[in-house]
Subunit: 321 residues, 2 copies
């Protein structure tokens, strides 16, 4: 049997899944990345993980037909090179695709982690029945992916779909990227937490003050928990989060008009209240010239989106050869 | 010889050009649209224009191989139907492509006017050497076009690339579309003029006050003329115009990462001062994480972009049959 391997390489953990040709998950595993040990060691650990996993499931590396890797950027995707990575400082100009191909002796494909997860949701998740899709990952930062007419948009220099860095408040809050007024500066999990802390420190009344006093910080989860408890500040903070994401949706609708806009990432654990908020503000901000039919929803594959998407991309690569 | 006909159908005038297979312009003409006389009459006038023009140039309708039409929307481009048009109220659910095909007895293609002009600049103008391009038309409103990997982006319902309606100031100035804070509400020719009139009426000192007093209005051209004369208010007004367009450029860079962003339309008559302003504010707002190489420039084909693009699209259609 031909087995597709999907790898989701993160700064902390590397996830790995084995799939059949129809992208059914056969088995999966996760291990510490140990990026500090350098690219050679990381690649060796990935190969060992795959080998152990396959042996445990009555197969072997020989059965692998192609490997897909989702990884943080910036990268040269055409050449398969990770140029740099804030969470993996040892990875500078690393020809990751070639290294994986050398060790597996099979064709491999390198894609951005957000794009791989986007592709996973497109082929097996929330976008499985559409041709045009926009994808946001909500976590410490905000990443994105765009699929037009069934193809991932990469841009002329592999830097497209940096959707968290669309500016919606020129001159506004400073973003980690150096710009001011980015969507990410208002709507990421860490921005949501930061805005709450700033408000509490500025003297606003809130149940969040106790949390800050006790723990020294406020997390995004705290904010949504206080929202559920009826806290007024938590309501204002989360409203701005939802409104910022809604404006990003309006802008993406006017840019590429997807059939579906999918939100994913750790922050969607906030649940229906987040999705309802985004939809509410979307309808507040969108024009009424024509009925807009875009579906705004949550991702459905959870943490498996990255390995599924990477395996699906590996499958496409295999077919092209 | 095979002749391609490119039509640029506007609410006031219809432009028509005849091209050889290599898209060299052979001859062109322009006439009043007379949209009030209804679609049948407009189509008959287009055919007569083409016939007269071709005869004057020693050819005939028989030599035409395909026809491309750029027209205002909203439209169903797949079916070739103009759904409605603010400037042509008599055009409601008009199967324009079929009518043109029937009269010319040749294949035809219908495209939005902004997309046709975008395609013209892509094949023969400012984007002739790239694969990824974003295009803005600056006039009474702001239109757009997006080309990714050599293909126009239409969206799932033919409503993509409405780039003037990206929101950059949520809750800001009311736009003609009903949204608040659109790029168009700050940076179109009419918005530039409106903001100037509002400021003068609010008592701001400016050479523009004399113009408003004498003529009852201020035009976008007046604002740029006063800018050239050193007027302070004109500087502030045009700075916000340029900054709004620059933010739109930043956002498009992060969305689709084009190689070139092209500005076209009547407003680029303002000249280098407008282009320099957009570039200045672009570099102010864009991140410095990596060197962004996008070229921001003006269109080069002037009013012919629409007929060239329409003819080029006709040529593609002809090849596909």
């Amino acid at each position: 049997m031909d087995i597709l391997v999907g790898v989701d390489l993160g700064g902390t953990n590397v996830k790995l899944g084995c799939f059949d040709e129809r992208l059914n998950l056969l088995c999966k595993t996760s291990a510490a990345t140990r990026a500090d040990m350098g690219p050679e060691t990381v690649v060796a650990r990935i190969v060992e993980s795959a080998q152990t996993l396959l042996q445990q499931n009555g197969s072997s590396l020989e059965a692998v037909s192609a490997v897909g890797i989702g990884a943080p950027g910036p990268a040269d995707l055409t050449e398969g090179i990770i140029i740099a990575s804030p969470n993996m400082p040892a990875f500078r100009n690393v020809p990751l695709r070639g290294m994986i191909e050398g060790r597996f002796r099979r064709p491999a494909v390198l894609e951005y982690d957000a794009n791989a997860a986007c592709w996973g949701e497109f082929v097996r998740g929330a976008g499985a029945n559409v041709r045009d899709m926009v994808f946001f990952t909500l976590g410490t930062g905000i990443g994105g992916g765009i699929i037009i007419d069934g193809r991932l948009v990469h841009g002329c220099g592999d830097a497209a779909a940096e959707l968290g860095h669309m500016i919606i408040h020129p001159g506004g809050r400073v973003c980690g990227c150096g710009q001011k007024g980015c969507v990410e500066a208002y709507a990421s999990a860490s921005s949501t937490a930061s805005r709450a802390m700033e408000s509490v420190r500025a003297g606003e009344e809130s149940g969040l003050k106790d949390i800050l006093d006790k723990t020294g910080e406020i997390t995004c989860r705290d904010v949504y928990e206080q929202l559920a408890a009826g806290d007024g500040l938590a309501r204002r903070i989360t409203d701005l989060t939802a409104e910022s994401l809604a404006v990003a949706c309006v802008n993406m609708l006017h840019c590429v008009e997807p059939e579906v806009i999918v939100f994913s990432g750790g922050m969607i654990a906030a649940g229906q209240v987040l999705l309802d908020g985004i939809r509410h503000f979307f309808h507040k901000h969108i024009w009424s010239l024509k009925a807009e039919k875009v579906d705004i929803c949550f991702a459905t594959l959870g943490e498996d989106a990255g390995i599924i998407g990477a395996a699906a991309l590996a499958n496409e690569k295999r077919r092209q050869i």
